[in-house]
Subunit: 415 residues, 2 copies
């Protein structure tokens, strides 16, 4: 395969990624490009021009996915590759964008080197991958997998705008969502390049990660009801302080997940009532999650945590309700796609490490309809979703080369 | 003294207290009458009519204090007695109102029994005793003590209305605040009857509490800065979770104050950043307080708490800043006034207990300008600042009789 090395153009990748960081919302922390914001729509228009420059035929499907297509030699379902352009508030310049630019660069290099694939190639930009103002994430890939429902379209953002209206502003047509759906067999394979957003590759000092799967996500809500009492007149021994009980719950989850191997668990949201200096907290709501690749292992940790909540309830004579359920199934990528990514890295002499993804991605939904896998790139200090998110240009070029080689290998293997 | 028993009319007290519970804000939880709300102004108008019915000469001073005056036989400074009518959001029917009605009933009984005091008697309704929408409490008594400053008048509520404007709506004249100020010597003595808002009297089964003083209040702000990281991709061992550190701080304060005798301490307010399910909490703000009657004891507990914060900072490699200062000095009522209250209860054969107040009151400010003390009444289950706040009518009548007898005793003693 060394004979046909793609040699992605690192300066061009760099210029393209930097170009997107101009489409950010004034008045928000850098680099904010919330889904369906004016800046997101500008970035989507810009990516269409980049795709056209790569001689891709560009369309937007009914779910708002921008698709740049390169025809193949044979009448086969397309190989698909892509990522997203939207960010969280105060996000970074690489999360999503790196995968979009890498996919376009691969298409450009095939074009420049006159490489013909048997399969059509579709470069996809999925809208609204991040948690959107509508309380929903991975909206475009959801639509493609046939999992965007009418009740989703009725969701509204803080301004009262519906997701339906927001999607129309981005060129989607929610009335014709079935036309965006790909069924098993419609897509030959899906690959996504993405920054790791964690510390493993940076710690290991390798430029490329071969991703074996994506963690499942379990979400929970803990409602703690004590008694709101006057802070000055209620002796310590007579209090039923919801915040003190909630504090024990936070530390219990930390202890359970720190001792349970390949699991993480977090209380990320709290609400306190009445949240006043002179009232003993009467009620606390905690929003928590656990993530892991092994359902049995997560369920055992959740049972341990539930036992600890029971002990807090008994010792503090306080009411604790705990709702906990899986919100995203663990995904295991097919061995044949993962090993093909490994082989691509080896054949190019690019060091790699295997790991799973702790974050959800559009690949979650694509894995339900096609053989899929992901390539990760190192995140400096493991940081992401912040303005100092950083991945080295050389690592992006290395990942792009693995991506392009893997597409070619899939093209040969799946014909 | 038994010859001249005042015998307060319990039915009249009950009717008056119930009457005030009609002046509550629609759309708010019962029984809400926030200071300077339309309902508060209605209650203030109503209390003027009650005072006039007790043959008191009614005026509103420049600080918004409603004063009903009964002239005395001699040219002496007045004896003052009173409380407040405003409530917290979702407060009860007795906090404040019980003391206002008891004071009016005492004046009514003197009038009905043709009892002439040497001192003038002033029944006072202080505006805005509770934490007001302007972020300030005890506004009327503050004005009377000469501690309402121009910067206070500029405070605004959530709608942008200034305290200055709110006070004018209640008949105050902020331009002439010096005219409302009473200096030491201007008031012969001050008594306030109030519900206990704690469990001591109800547990002891006595109808009357003789209050020896009011706790000091120390307030603190804890700022914890960790690192906001992705909840899915950041291993447990690499986190600097501000909420986990804050939870340890909450439990540390609880432990310190539970082990430190006559002190209470509470974290009542929290703010979490970014407060999102998929981000490890990066920053937490805690609002806390400690209360106690003995400054040295509180300071020792605060030092213990500071040591524990240092250990949290070191073990979690997290930044913790702690600002802590006294916001209200402990008040010790003069022994001669306290013993006079005790003697009044004994002479009437009414069981009493001595206790201090864990809550602040208008008496805090009055104690700075006059010999002062308070009478407490039992709060059912120790509850207050809630709609099920309850004090038995018979206990209010007993407290009113002690109050009236103590005023007469002060009148004799101070002439």
């Amino acid at each position: 395969m060394t004979a046909g090395r793609l040699e992605p153009r690192v300066e061009r990748i760099k210029d393209d990624i930097i170009a997107f960081s101009a489409f950010v919302s004034p008045g928000e922390p850098p680099y904010t490009r919330l889904s369906f914001s004016p800046e997101d729509l500008q970035a989507r228009a810009y990516v269409c021009r980049l795709m056209e420059g790569a001689r891709l035929a560009v369309r937007t499907d009914a779910g708002g996915n921008i698709i740049g297509r390169r025809e193949g030699a044979c009448a086969l379902p397309p190989l698909m590759v892509g990522s997203h352009l939207d960010t969280v508030r105060g996000g970074g310049r690489f999360d999503g964008v790196a995968g979009v630019v890498a996919a376009i660069e691969a298409a450009r290099r095939y074009d420049e080197q006159h490489i013909r694939l048997d399969h059509p190639l579709e470069v996809v930009v999925f809208p609204a991958e991040e948690p959107s103002p509508f309380g929903l994430s991975t909206i475009g890939s959801r639509a493609m997998a046939g999992k965007l429902w009418p009740e989703h379209l009725a969701l509204t953002d803080g301004t009262g705008r519906s997701l339906d209206a927001a999607m129309r502003s981005a060129g989607a047509d929610p009335d014709r969502l079935p036309e965006a759906v790909r069924s098993p067999g419609d897509v030959a394979a899906f690959l996504e390049l993405h920054i790791e957003q964690g510390p493993h590759l940076a710690c290991a000092g390798v430029p490329v990660g071969v991703v074996t799967g994506i963690v499942g996500i379990w979400r929970g809500r803990i409602e703690i009801v004590g008694q709101p009492d006057h802070t000055g007149t209620t002796p310590m021994g007579r209090r039923r302080d919801a915040l003190a009980a909630g504090s024990e719950a936070v530390l219990a989850l930390e202890a359970v997940c720190s001792g349970a191997g390949d699991i993480v668990g977090t209380v990320g949201r709290v609400e306190l009532f009445p949240n006043a200096l002179n009232v003993v907290p009467g009620k606390m709501l905690l929003g928590m999650e656990m993530r892991g690749t092994d359902t049995a292992c997560v369920e055992a940790a959740a049972a341990d945590f539930t036992d600890r909540l029971d002990r807090i309830r008994d010792s503090r004579k306080i009411d604790i309700a705990f709702d906990f359920s899986m919100s995203s199934t663990p995904v295991r990528f097919p061995d044949e796609v993962v090993s093909l990514l490994r082989e691509a890295a080896i054949s190019l002499g690019i060091p790699y490490a295997q790991l799973h993804s702790g974050a959800g991605h559009d690949a979650n939904h694509l894995a339900g309809i096609a053989p899929a896998a992901m390539i990760f790139l190192p995140s400096k200090d493991g940081r992401s979703h912040c303005s100092d998110e950083w991945t080295e240009w050389a690592d992006i070029a290395a990942g792009t080369e693995v991506l392009a080689a893997a597409i070619q290998a899939l093209d040969r293997r799946l014909t």
